[in-house]
Symmetry: C2
């Protein structure tokens, strides 16, 4: 028994920056970014809070590390594909990473300077446009146009996902009918589509790709016009 405990204590895996970051990502994934404190993180690692500071400079730096973890999950560019296919695939991969870690976009926005990892991602993105024949100027415009889509999220204003039980939600929208008629009208069609065979109502994935393709098509037309 006591041997087991001692063994357990002795075999305790040492703290590393990577282990700290991984645990922090887990905590944020489970409880949201506001549930991630240095103290809770330390507790999850079975360590005293100050121990973390041997591996990350401070909480700011920890958050930067979290962003890097997420960005590292984005697939590298497709080899041998045309620019549009490659950009599209990469952005959809970024979106998947962001969907896995819903807190990440907000953390990214709160940073003032990009980390080297983020810079490398952007650099590679720029390179993909350039390799596809975009002029520097048009690449510049394209990067701005992509905006947050570049990082794989598109500011879903409604955040349909999750906890709200369907009935409450229906009630909520019903109550809005008089006050916000346009929202209600739109909601009705979404619900209708949902209850028939057409599809899952508001398909976030589809909406994202719809917007993405619109922008990409527009950029392509511009590119060809100036080629």
């Amino acid at each position: 028994m006591s041997t087991d405990i001692e063994l357990g204590a002795e075999t305790r895996i040492p703290l590393t920056r990577e282990r700290v970051l991984r645990t922090a990502v887990d905590l944020a994934d489970q409880g949201g970014i506001e549930a991630l404190s240095m103290r809770k993180l330390a507790q999850a690692l079975d360590v005293v809070p100050m121990a973390l500071y041997r591996h990350v400079a401070n909480k700011e730096e920890l958050l930067n590390g979290l962003i890097d973890v997420v960005v590292d999950e984005i697939d590298p560019p497709l080899e041998g594909a045309d620019w549009k296919t490659a950009v599209r695939a990469r952005i959809l991969s970024a979106r998947q990473a962001l969907l896995r870690h819903p807190w990440a976009s907000r953390v990214m926005e709160s940073r003032t300077v990009p980390t080297p990892t983020v810079l490398a991602y952007m650099d590679s993105m720029i390179g993909m446009f350039r390799a596809g024949g975009f002029s520097i100027d048009l690449t510049h415009h394209a990067m701005h146009t992509m905006g947050s889509r570049l990082m794989g999220f598109a500011q879903e204003l409604f955040n349909d996902s999750g906890d709200a039980d369907q009935e409450m939600e229906a009630e909520f929208y019903e109550a809005m009918a008089a006050m916000y008629p346009s929202i209600y009208e739109l909601y009705l069609t979404v619900v209708h589509d949902d209850s028939t065979t057409v599809g899952p109502g508001c398909d976030d994935q589809f909406e994202f790709e719809f917007a993405l393709d619109l922008v990409l098509d527009g950029l392509e037309k511009l590119k060809d016009r100036h080629a």
Copy 2:
């Protein structure tokens, strides 16, 4: 003297929700959202922290109030204009509001449920598309496509603005030349444009309108195709 002080004390304007919100906006404008605490806000209002709780339920509700203040600064829809002109003008007005209060977009993103004020804004926006002849489905797509642009910001990844002295910035980019060649290449043309007569290098306003017009043109083509 003492009369003055007493008079000052007696004439002290009473706390109101509106005064609390206005002061909070000022604080956030000056020091960033992280400089806004209930305690500092109370201090700025020359009042004890707990006094605020007579006028806002808690900090969450205060933040919701701040968003409403910003959204209320957005101009109402243009009367008698075509949908595209009207949407364009409204979104640019939203952008101006967001530029006046740079903390606002991050606060908006941190909210889980939209306030009635935000809902009313979205409702009115939907109504503008509908009045312009968009089908419900296309309106639905359009709202998703606009994404964060709807609220007037477009996730400027680089946040050029401000404090960095030009020299440091140049040095910074120079140092990146080897590591991030594409960023560097882009930076060079921006700097070049800047030092000649072409314009102010990276004109955020232009970039924003470029992206906005691209999306709007794409939507218009879709609309006409299905009309």
